[in-house]
């Protein structure tokens, strides 16, 4: 059982005009077995939240805390966070030319588990995970994300989620740019992960569409670097009907 606790998180980035505050005090608790959706307009700070938790060097934490099962996440290096059980499915996965998917997955699994996976079961696991995401076995010989279509990149992210088996997964706009078939395949992968014992999911999205396939327990509306409103799944229905207009008009 695990808990990701975000308390009054404040984050800034360096710009030409000096530091700019993006997150202005975010508080969220994701308990194991829960899926939280974060919805918000462009520029509200959703992705900043994801990347700050993962430890991207571009972001400076100016206040607040993030803990995973009581451990101080912000004190950890990027790779320590992943080994502690955090996973970030990226909106724009990065190309690593010359490094095969097979090599990458094995290296990551070895790093996360602290030992190399057993060869025979591992190959089966990888092929199984790829197959479930409609990626054929030749996929593992390709360079990581190089020449992948948008849909292949996202499906590859979810294959990693299933293979690396973190405690808490942060999905940053995994649905953006996907056609309906790919969205279903990706959602099924996320749902398989959620069915496992004690997994937490923080699902960041601009659209309500993915929430038809992945049912959230909680929905948070993110505006101007803060949670403007929280509620149950019904809040997503309200957003679908009304959009973000009402939140934006009250924002400064």
């Amino acid at each position: 059982m695990s808990t990701l606790q975000i308390t009054d998180l404040q984050v800034s980035v360096d710009t030409e005009d000096g530091p700019k505050e993006i997150l202005k005090g975010v508080t969220l608790t994701i308990d194991s077995g829960e899926t939280h959706a974060i919805m918000g307009p462009n520029g509200s700070g959703k992705s900043t939240l994801a990347y700050s938790i993962a430890g991207h060097p571009k972001y400076t934490i100016t206040g607040g805390s993030v803990t995973l099962d009581g451990e101080d996440v912000l004190a950890m290096s990027v790779d320590e966070r992943a080994r502690a059980g955090l996973f970030l499915a990226m909106q724009y996965p990065v190309e690593v030319p010359g490094v095969s998917v097979a090599n990458f997955l094995r290296t990551a699994k070895t790093a996360i588990d602290g030992e190399a996976p057993k060869l025979r079961t591992w190959v089966k696991d990888v092929n199984g995970a790829l197959e479930k995401l409609n990626l054929d076995s030749s996929f593992s010989a390709r360079s990581v994300n190089e020449g992948f279509s948008g849909g292949e990149k996202k499906r590859h992210e979810i294959a990693q989620l299933e293979l690396l088996d973190p405690k808490v997964a942060i999905l940053d706009e995994t649905d953006s740019g996907l056609d309906i078939d790919a969205l279903k395949v990706v959602s099924e992968g996320v749902n398989r992960f959620r069915e496992r014992e004690g997994k937490g999911v923080l699902l960041i999205t601009h659209y309500t569409r993915i929430l038809r396939y992945i049912q959230p327990d909680r929905v948070h509306v993110f505006v101007d670097g803060k949670v403007a409103e929280s509620g149950g799944p019904e809040l997503a229905d309200k957003l679908e009907a009304e959009g973000y207009e009402s939140y934006l008009s009250v924002a400064p």
Binding site: A54, G55, H56, P57, S77, V78, D79, R81, A82, R83, F87, L88, M90, P93, V94, E95, V96, P97, G98, V99, N103, F104, T107, A108, A111, I112, S143, V144, Q160, L164
Partner: protein, 393 residues
Amino acid sequence: MTVTADARDAVASALEVDHVESHLHPVSSFDLADHPMPTGREEIWRFTPLKRLAGALDDAPGDTDALTVETIGDASYVVGTLAPGQHPRGASLVPDDRASALACLHAPEAVHVRVPADAELDEPIGHRLTGAAGKRSHRHTVIEAGTHSRATYVLDHRGSGVHAGNVEVVVGDGADLTVVTLQDWDDDAVHVGTHEAVVGRDARYRHIAVTFGGSVVRTSSNVHYAGPGGDAELLGLYFADAGQHFEHRLFVDHNAPRTKSNVVYKGALQGERARTVWIGNVLIRKVAEGIETYEENRNLVLTDGCQADSVPNLEIETGEIEGAGHASATARFDDEQLFYLRSRGVSDEESRRLVLHGFFQDLIRKIGLPELEEKLTAAVEDELARNVAGKQL
């Protein structure tokens, strides 16, 4: 009348070929007097640390026992020796720098490797040269690939000392020849080499240079064509550590129509005063209609205090070509790549190794010779394991 027309064309093209004045390459000559001791201001020497060449450019015979020579693979293709001017010695290579002229002069017996016409060799052949510390050597190798033959020749340099080496390659019509040159010298070795190939009609030539070790290594790898349809691919990878100077000079002379060339060199630099130089010269002569050429050099700078020079030169005398282009980039590690790998739990050090592995692997897998690819991958892994350390992010 056809004969007259052909003869006039031949004369015209001969004149045209002879009269190109290009800054890309100096005058070729066997006469050492045409290659005076450089001062360092010459275009072809301005990047080279002349003071560190340890007598490589001195006009004196080499030492006896300076090189231990082993044969790689089937020795029956090493058919004898060639005196200066004895065909095919001189058919391809006419020295265009002093080191090359010295190697001709002081290597009275060139090693002659000959692959007969139509022979297809499954296993690589070649030579392993091990230099002795404090000694100077000269060597001239002639590799002749007969019509429609297919072979791989490996020249493996290691050990120490000062070496001036010429490799003269004649690729027969329709032949497919790969020449691999490995420079894995000890830290104090000096090597100045010229590899000159003439590529026959519809022939395929590949030259793969791998430089990992030595104090100063300077190679000039040149290609010209004996007829239309020739295809040359020049690949290189190098890893320069502190204090090492690795200079790779390429010259592709498109002197025949419908010929192709593709040059890809990738290098990494690490440590104080690690220095690499890449000069990619391509000349497209007026006769060279319908040719296609591309050259690319990428450098990855791993630490402060390194310097990578990358100079592509393209000289075009006809616009009637399929394509011509070049790319050159020198960069540090991509922070986004490292972040991506580290966000999957991979340590900083391991992430850097993985990115570098990929950087070189991208090139290695172009080779298409599984055994050689494996050896090079292993050599790269070994180099990375010894040399790439991480830092906390």
